[in-house]
C-alpha cells in the first residue's frame, strides 16, 4: 500500500498515512486531486479508481471516506476488506465509532492503524491481537497516572 487517506464528505482530511517518501508539496497535490475525484463519484459507482499509475480503492462509511492507494498488481477486493477491518477495529475500540471520535482522538486512530498496518503491509489480521497491543499501551497510561497520584512508593 502506498498511502491511506481518511476524509469527510466536505473534503476535510481526517487522517493521512504515507508509506512512500513524498515531499509535502506532492502529498498536498495528491490529496487535493484525490479528494476531488473521489467526492465527484456517484454512490453506485465502482469502488476502484485508476489514478495515474496507481489503483485507488475507496469506501464510504457514514460521512467518512476511507481511501487507499495500491499498485496495479495488488488485489483490490482485499484492500477493500483492509479498510473494513480497520473500521471494525475503530468501532470496537471507540464503541460504535463516529467521525467525531476520529477527529478528537485522531492520534488513537493512528496508533490503531500502526498496529494493524506497518510500513504499508498488513501486520496483524487478528482483531484480538491488535486491540490487545493498543490496550496494553493505553493501560500503561492509566497505571502511570495512578502512580503519579499515589506518589513514589
Amino acid at each position: 500500500m502506498q498511502f491511506m487517506l481518511l476524509f469527510s464528505r466536505q473534503g476535510k482530511l481526517r487522517l493521512q498515512k504515507w508509506y512512500v517518501p513524498l515531499s509535502d508539496k506532492e502529498k498536498k497535490k495528491i490529496t487535493r486531486e484525490l479528494v476531488q475525484t473521489v467526492l465527484a463519484r456517484k454512490p453506485k459507482m465502482c469502488s476502484f479508481l485508476e489514478w495515474r499509475d496507481l489503483k485507488i480503492v475507496y469506501k464510504r462509511y457514514a460521512s467518512l471516506y476511507f481511501c487507499c492507494a495500491i499498485e496495479d498488481q495488488d488485489n483490490e477486493l482485499i484492500t477493500l476488506e483492509i479498510i473494513h477491518r480497520y473500521v471494525e477495529l475503530l468501532d470496537k475500540y471507540f464503541g460504535s465509532v463516529c467521525e467525531l471520535d476520529i477527529i478528537f482522538n485522531f492520534e488513537k486512530a493512528y496508533f490503531i492503524l500502526d498496529e494493524f498496518l506497518l510500513g504499508g503491509e498488513v501486520q496483524e489480521t487478528s482483531k484480538k491481537n491488535v486491540l490487545k497491543a493498543i490496550e496494553q499501551a493505553d493501560l500503561l497510561q492509566e497505571v502511570l497516572r495512578r502512580q503519579k497520584v499515589a506518589g513514589p512508593f
Partner: protein, 1137 residues
C-alpha cells in the same frame, strides 16, 4: 522510575484482562486534550477558508512560542505535538515542531514517547535529514527491558529509517527475532522487511533467519515473513523453489481451517494470509511445470472452498484465478477458473464486474474464446456510466485488436479520449491507439485520419515517439512505392485541408508533423503549387500561438519548398520578416534561407526532393576548411581549442591536479558536432534536415521500447497457432456451436428482460460482431488470409534481411583475413577451415582453393621461405589479425619471378588482390600493377612491370612524380634503363612517408620505354593513398595512455550513429582494430582505449564509448590536424562496415 515501569508491566496482563471490555476506551475518551478539542470545535464553527487560515496561523504562532519556551513540560509538549499534527493535516506548515517531536521521543516517558514517535512518523519521510537525530533514541529503546518501548522503536523502524544508519540497529533487530514475545518477533520481521526494501544488500546475510520466521509457531510472525518472501520471490523466483512445498502446506492448513479462530475474517480463515500465499505460488509456478504440479491440489481446494457470497471470498477467488492462469496450465483448473471469471463478469455488483473485466484482460492472451463468451457483457460495459468500467473494457479490447476489428475498437477508444481530461489517461490511451494503428491500419485514408485525431487529442502530452514513429513510417514507406506515394499524398492533402479551417488551434506537435510532411511531400500535389503551400506555412509562422520550436520546423519546411517554387514573393517577405527577428534561432534560419535562396544551385543540391531517407555524407571533420584555417593561422590567428580543452587548460594552469582522463563525460555538445568557427555552415547543412536527423537519433531507441511496453508478440503467435489448428478442422464446429449457444442464451435473456429495447440489442449485437470478429473460429480462416496482408502493410520493413546478407558477404572476408594474418597456416588448414564453416558463400572460392590445393605442394616451401625473409612486416601485424596480405618486398631479383607467381596465384582470391595488387595501367606491351606494403616504418609501394610482348623493351624507366605531401625514397635503381626480356616482371620499390596528415591523396608516376623501332612510349598511372596507409598500431600501456592523453592538446569529439547490429563494443573494436589498425590499449566497461601512430611516429589516441547505438569518439594527438583526419576515416569505416 524504570523499576516502577517494569513492575507495572509484569502486572499488566492481569490488569488488562479485568479492564478489557470498556475501561480503556472510556479512559481514552476522557483524556483527550481539551485544547485540541477547542481548536477542533473552533475550526468547525468557522465558515470561510479565510477565517480558518487566520485561526490556524494564530494557533501555530502560539504553538511555536510554546514549544521553544524552556518552561514547557514534556507533558505540555505532548499536547502541543498533537495539535501540530492536526494543523499539519489541515495543510499548514508545522516544520518548526519537527525537532521537538524528535526530542519528545527521546526524553519523554512512555506516553510522551509514544506521541513523539507518532509525530516523527507523520512529519518526516525516510530521506529527511532530521531523522538521523532519532537513531540514538531508537538504539536505546531497542535495548530497553520495557516491552512497550521496544515495540515503539520497532514500529518506527518499520516505517521510516535512514538507510545509511541500518548497520547501527541491525544486530539489535536480529536479536529480536528470537524474542519470547510474538509481537516483538513480528515487528522485528517487518522491520527487516523494510530494510530489505530500502537496502537489500544489508540484510542478505540473514536470509536463513527469515526461514526460521516462516516456521514460527505464531501465525502473525509467519504471516509477516511472507511479505519478505513475496518480495524476494518477485525478484528471483528460481532461488526459492524449494520452499514451494512449505507454502503449499501452509495454504492447505489455512484453507482447511487449522488456524486459530482469531484469524478468521467473516468466517473465512485468514484471508490475507491466503492471498499472500496464492501470490507467492503464482510467482513460483510460472513457466515451471514441476513446481506447478505441487500446487494443483491446493488451488483446486481453494477454488472449491471459496463458496460464500462475500467480498472476501471473491478476493480469494480472484487471486486464485490469477494464480491458475499464471502457473503452468492445467486444463481442469483453467476450466474452473474460467467459470469463476464468468461469475465475476456477470455479477450485478459493479466491483466484481470490474474485477471480472480485469481478469479477462489478463487471461485473454491465453484464451481469446473466453472474451467471445462474454461479448454481450463486454459490449454493455463499453457504454457503462462509470468511466472506470469503460476504461477497463477498452483495455480488454485493446488486447484483442486485430486487422478486422481495429476500426471499431479505435473508434471507441477515441470516443473515450474525447471525454477524458486526465493527462495520464490521455497519454496512455493515445499510445495504445498509435500502436494498434501502426500495426493494423486497413487503409491509407483511415490511417491518416486516425493519426490526425491522435495528434489533435494527444497534443503535446503524448509520448514524443508517436509523431516520430509516424514520420518515419511515412518516410521509409513500405514495400510498395506507389502505395507509399498515395499515403504521403493523402497526408499532405489532409493537412492542407486542416490548415484551411479558420480559428482552430492544433497542438504544437501536430503542427510540427504537418510542417515536416508538407516540406517533404508537397511535390506530390497536382493542383496546389509549392507557393500555395508556402503561403499557408507563412500564415502559421505569423501566428503568435505557435511556439518557436514549431516555427523552426515550419521554416525548415519553407526552405525545402523554396527549392521547388518558381516565384517566391512570400519567401522574400518571410526572409525580411525574420532576419530581424529577436529570436536568434529564427534569425539564423532566416539567414540560411536567405543565402540559399540567393544560390539556387547550392540549394538544389542541398535539399533534394524526397531524399529524406538517404543519408547525407557530411564531412564532419570540416576538412574542406583546412586551407582557410591554415591561412588564418599563418596570419597569426590563435588555433581553435574546444571549450572543454580550454577549461582543462585553465584548470591545469592553476594547480597541479591529477585529472582522471577516462572518467570524463561525453557531454551532450558532442551531438551537435564540433563547435568550430565554421559551425554556421555546418548548421545550415543540418538545419534542412534537422527534422529527420533528430528523428533518426531517437528512432532506434524507441522501437525496442514500444515492443517491450506492450508485449504484443505474445498474442500474435498464439493466434496463428490457433488458426493453424483450426484448418485441421475436427473440433472446430462444435466449439463454435457451443459458443453461439452461449451467445444466444445471453441474448435470449436480454430479450426476455427488455423486449422493447430490441432495437438497441440489435445494435449491440452488430457491434459485438464487428468487435469480436477474428476471435471466433469461423472467421479465423478468414483472418489468416486478410489479416496478414493488412498487418504486413503497416509494419516496419524488417531490416534483418539486409543485415544478414551483409554478414554473409563479410564472412569470407573474415576467413581470408584470419588466414593471411597467420602465415604459418598451411593451405590444407585453410581448406579445412573453409569446409568447416560450410558457408554457401564459400563455394565461390572452391575454384581458387582447388587451384591452391593443386599447387600446394610446390608452394608450401615457398611460402615459408617468403615468410622467413620478411620477419619485420610479419611481426608488425601478427597479433592484430588484420586484413592484410603481405606481398613480398623481395629485393633479390631472383625472387621477383616467384613473387609474381605467388601474387598472380592469389589473384584467384579477390579479397586480397583487389585491394592489394592492382593494375594501374597497361597497354598491349606491358602492364603495371602496384601494391602497398605496410611496413613498420614506412609505406612501401611496389610497382610490378610485366612485359607482355614477346620483344624486349629498351630503356624502360619508371618514375614517380614528387608529391607535395609525401616523402618518397626509392629502393632499387629504377631509373636505370633496363632491358626486359619477354614475359618477365620487374619490381620497383618506393618507400613513402606522409609529411602532413591529410585524408586522401594520390601518387602518380609514369613509365616510359622505347620500342624496338626506337619509338618512345609513356604510360601514366596514379595510386590513391589514404591516411590509413600511414597509420600503425602504437603499443603502449594504459598508464602511458593516460599520460599521453593529458599531454596532447589537439582533440576532436564526435558521436557517430551506428546500426544496432554493429553497436556493440566487440564489433566496434574489431572494426577499429582491423580497418584502422589501432592498437587496443585497454577496455573499461563499455569504453575502449586505442592508440596508433602516424608514420614515422606521431601518436594519436582514441577514447571511445558505445552507448545504445551511438558511438562516441574522442581523438587526441600532438599533431593538430591528425585527429580530424582520423575521425573522418573512422566515420567512413563505421559507415562502410
Amino acid at each position: 522510575m524504570s523499576d516502577i515501569v517494569e513492575k507495572t508491566l509484569t502486572a499488566l496482563p492481569g490488569l488488562f484482562l479485568q479492564n478489557q471490555s470498556g475501561g480503556a476506551p472510556a479512559a481514552a475518551k476522557a483524556s483527550f486534550s481539551s485544547r485540541l478539542g477547542s481548536l477542533v470545535r473552533g475550526i468547525t464553527a468557522l465558515t470561510s477558508k479565510h477565517e480558518e487560515e487566520k485561526l490556524i496561523q494564530q494557533e501555530l504562532s502560539n504553538l511555536k512560542a510554546a514549544v521553544s519556551a524552556p518552561t514547557t513540560t514534556l507533558k505540555m509538549m505532548k499536547e502541543c505535538m498533537v495539535r501540530l499534527i492536526y494543523c499539519e493535516m489541515l495543510g499548514y506548515d508545522a516544520s518548526f515542531g519537527y525537532i521537538h517531536a524528535i526530542k519528545l521521543a527521546q526524553q519523554g516517558n512512555l506516553l510522551e514517547k509514544r506521541v513523539g514517535y507518532l509525530a516523527v512518523s507523520l512529519f518526516l519521510h525516510e530521506n529527511h535529514e532530521l531523522l538521523l537525530l532519532l537513531v540514538n533514541t531508537v538504539v536505546k529503546d531497542l535495548q530497553s527491558t520495557n516491552l512497550v518501548e521496544v515495540c515503539m522503536a520497532l514500529t518506527i523502524v518499520s516505517q521510516i529509517f535512514p538507510r545509511e544508519m541500518i548497520p547501527a540497529v541491525l544486530p539489535l533487530i536480529e536479536d529480536k527475532l528470537q524474542h519470547s514475545k510474538e509481537i516483538i518477533r513480528r515487528k522485528a520481521v517487518l522491520a527487516l522487511y523494510k530494510f530489505h526494501l530500502i537496502a537489500p544488500n544489508q540484510v542478505q546475510h540473514i536470509h536463513i533467519k527469515f526461514r526460521k520466521a516462516l516456521c514460527d509457531r505464531d501465525v502473525g510472525v509467519m504471516a509477516a515473513s511472507l511479505h519478505i518472501y513475496l518480495r524476494m520471490i518477485k525478484e528471483n523466483s528460481s532461488g526459492y523453489k524449494d520452499l514451494t512445498g512449505s507454502f503449499v502446506t501452509i495454504l492447505k492448513q489455512v484453507v482447511g481451517g487449522k488456524l486459530p479462530v482469531d484469524f478468521n475474517y467473516h468466517s473465512v480463515p485468514a484471508p490475507w494470509l491466503q492471498i499472500q500465499l496464492l501470490r507467492i505460488l503464482g510467482l513460483l509456478g510460472k513457466d515451471d511445470q514441476r513446481t506447478s504440479e505441487l500446487m494443483y491440489d491446493v488451488l483446486d481446494e481453494s477454488l472449491r472452498r471459496a463458496e460464500l457470497n462475500h467480498n472476501i471470498t471473491y478476493a480469494i477467488l480472484f487471486e486464485c484465478v490469477h494464480t491458475v492462469y499464471s502457473i503452468y496450465p492445467k486444463s481442469e483448473l483453467l476450466e474452473k477458473a474460467a467459470k469463476c471469471i464468468g461469475k465475476f463478469v456477470l455479477s450485478p455488483k459493479i466491483n466484481l464486474k470490474y474485477l471480472g473485466l480485469k481478469a479477462l484482460t489478463y487471461v485473454i492472451q491465453q484464451d481469446p474464446t473466453l472474451a467471445l463468451q462474454h461479448q454481450m457483457t463486454i459490449i454493455e460495459c463499453l457504454d457503462h456510466p462509470d468511466p472506470i468500467i469503460k476504461r477497463e473494457t477498452l483495455e480488454l479490447l485493446y488486447r484483442i485488436t486485430n486487422a478486422q476489428n481495429i476500426t471499431v475498437i479505435v473508434q471507441k477508444m477515441l470516443e473515450y479520449l474525447h471525454q477524458s481530461k486526465e493527462e495520464y489517461i490521455i497519454v496512455n490511451l493515445v499510445g495504445k491507439i498509435a500502436e494498434t494503428v501502426d500495426t493494423y491500419a486497413p487503409d491509407n485514408a483511415w490511417f491518416i485520419q486516425t493519426m490526425n485525431a491522435v495528434f489533435s487529442v494527444g497534443g503535446d502530452v503524448m509520448h514524443p515517439d508517436i509523431p516520430n514513429n509516424f514520420l518515419r513510417l511515412l518516410a521509409e514507406g513500405f514495400d510498395d512505392e506507389t502505395e507509399d506515394q498515395q499515403l504521403r499524398l493523402y497526408a499532405v492533402q489532409s493537412y492542407l485541408t486542416l490548415l484551411d479551417v479558420e480559428n482552430v488551434f492544433y497542438p504544437q506537435r501536430f503542427l510540427q508533423v504537418m510542417s515536416w510532411v508538407l516540406g517533404e511531400y508537397s511535390y506530390l500535389l497536382d493542383k496546389e503549387t509549392p507557393e500555395q503551400v508556402i503561403t499557408k506555412l507563412y500564415k502559421l509562422l505569423m501566428n503568435d500561438s505557435v511556439s518557436s520550436e514549431t516555427k523552426a520546423w515550419l521554416i525548415a519546411a519553407v526552405t525545402k519548398l523554396t527549392v521547388q517554387a518558381h516565384s517566391s514573393n512570400v519567401v522574400e517577405k518571410l526572409i525580411q520578416e525574420f532576419t530581424g527577428s529577436l529570436d536568434t534561432c529564427m534569425r539564423q534560419h532566416a539567414f540560411e534561407l536567405k543565402y540559399l535562396h540567393e544560390n539556387v544551385e547550392l540549394m538544389k543540391s542541398l535539399l533534394p526532393v524526397d531524399k529524406s531517407c538517404e543519408d547525407m555524407v557530411v564531412d564532419a571533420s570540416l576538412s574542406f576548411l583546412d586551407g582557410f584555417v591554415a591561412e588564418e593561422l599563418s596570419q597569426g590567428a590563435a588555433p581553435y581549442k574546444p571549450h572543454h580543452q580550454r577549461q582543462e587548460e585553465k584548470l591545469s594552469q592553476g594547480k597541479v591536479l591529477n585529472f582522471e582522463p577516462y572518467g570524463l563525460s561525453f557531454s551532450s555538445s558532442g551531438f551537435t558536432g564540433r563547435q568550430s568557427p565554421a559551425g554556421i555552415s555546418l548548421g545550415s547543412d543540418i538545419s534542412g534536415n534537422s527534422a529527420e536527423t533528430g528523428l533518426k537519433e531517437t528512432n532506434s531507441l524507441k522501437l525496442e521500447g514500444i515492443k517491450k511496453l506492450w508485449g504484443k508478440e505474445g498474442y500474435l503467435p498464439k493466434k496463428e497457432s490457433k488458426t493453424g489448428d483450426e484448418t485441421e478442422a475436427a473440433p472446430v464446429p462444435q466449439e463454435s456451436i457451443t459458443m453461439e449457444n452461449v451467445d444466444q442464451t445471453i441474448t435470449k435473456k436480454d430479450h426476455s428482460q427488455v423486449l422493447t429495447q430490441s432495437k438497441e440489442e440489435k445494435e449491440k449485437q452488430l457491434l459485438a460482431s464487428s468487435l469480436f470478429v477474428g476471435l471466433g473460429s469461423e472467421s479465423a480462416i478468414n483472418l489468416l488470409g486478410k489479416a496478414d496482408t493488412a498487418s504486413h502493410k503497416f509494419r516496419r520493413k524488417s531490416k534483418v534481411k539486409e543485415i544478414k546478407s551483409g554478414e554473409t558477404t563479410s564472412a569470407p572476408n573474415m576467413t581470408c583475413s584470419s588466414f593471411s594474418s597467420s602465415p604459418n597456416v598451411t593451405y590444407e588448414d585453410y581448406l579445412d577451415n573453409l569446409q568447416d564453416r560450410g558457408d554457401k558463400e564459400l563455394k565461390k572460392f572452391s575454384l581458387s582453393s582447388e587451384l591452391l590445393d593443386s599447387e600446394s605442394l610446390t608452394e608450401l616451401p615457398l611460402v615459408e621461405k617468403l615468410s622467413d625473409c620478411r620477419p619485420r612486416t610479419l611481426s608488425l601485424f601478427a597479433d592484430n589479425s588484420m586484413e592484410v596480405f603481405h606481398p613480398p618486398p623481395s629485393t633479390a631479383a631472383s625472387a621477383a619471378n616467384e613473387t609474381y607467381l605467388v601474387s598472380s596465384l592469389l589473384e584467384g582470391t579477390p579479397e586480397y588482390m583487389h585491394s592489394d595488387l592492382m593494375e594501374v595501367c597497361s597497354n598491349e606491351t606491358l602492364s603495371v600493377s602496384s601494391y602497398k606494403v605496410w611496413k613498420d616504418d614506412c609505406l612501401l609501394m611496389v610497382w610490378s612491370v610485366f612485359n607482355k610482348s614477346g620483344s624486349e623493351l629498351k630503356s624502360a624507366n619508371l618514375e614517380i612524380v614528387p608529391a607535395e605531401n609525401f616523402k618518397i625514397t626509392e629502393h632499387s635503381g629504377c631509373c636505370l634503363p633496363v632491358t626486359e626480356a619477354e614475359n618477365t616482371t620487374k619490381n620497383f620499390q618506393y618507400s613513402v612517408q606522409m609529411e602532413k596528415p591529410f585524408t586522401e591523396g594520390s601518387l602518380s608516376g609514369f613509365i616510359n620505354y622505347q620500342m624496338m623501332d626506337a619509338h618512345s612510349v609513356q604510360l601514366e598511372f596514379s595510386v590513391n593513398l589514404s591516411l590509413l596507409d600511414f597509420i600503425r598500431p602504437l603499443k603502449i600501456s594504459t598508464e602511458d595512455f593516460g599520460k599521453l592523453w593529458l599531454s596532447f592538446a589537439n582533440d576532436v569529439k564526435q558521436n557517430v550513429k551506428m546500426s544496432e547490429s554493429q553497436a556493440t563494443l566487440p564489433s566496434v573494436l574489431k572494426t577499429l582494430q582491423r580497418k584502422l589498425r589501432l592498437h587496443v590499449v585497454d577496455i573499461i566497461g563499455n569504453e575502449g582505449l586505442l592508440a596508433c601512430r602516424l608514420l614515422p611516429s606521431i601518436p594519436c589516441l582514441l577514447h571511445f564509448r558505445v552507448h545504445s547505438d551511438v558511438l562516441a569518439l574522442w581523438f587526441r594527438s600532438s599533431c593538430p590536424s591528425l585527429p580530424d583526419s582520423l575521425l573522418y576515416q573512422c566515420q567512413k569505416v563505421m559507415e562502410g562496415s
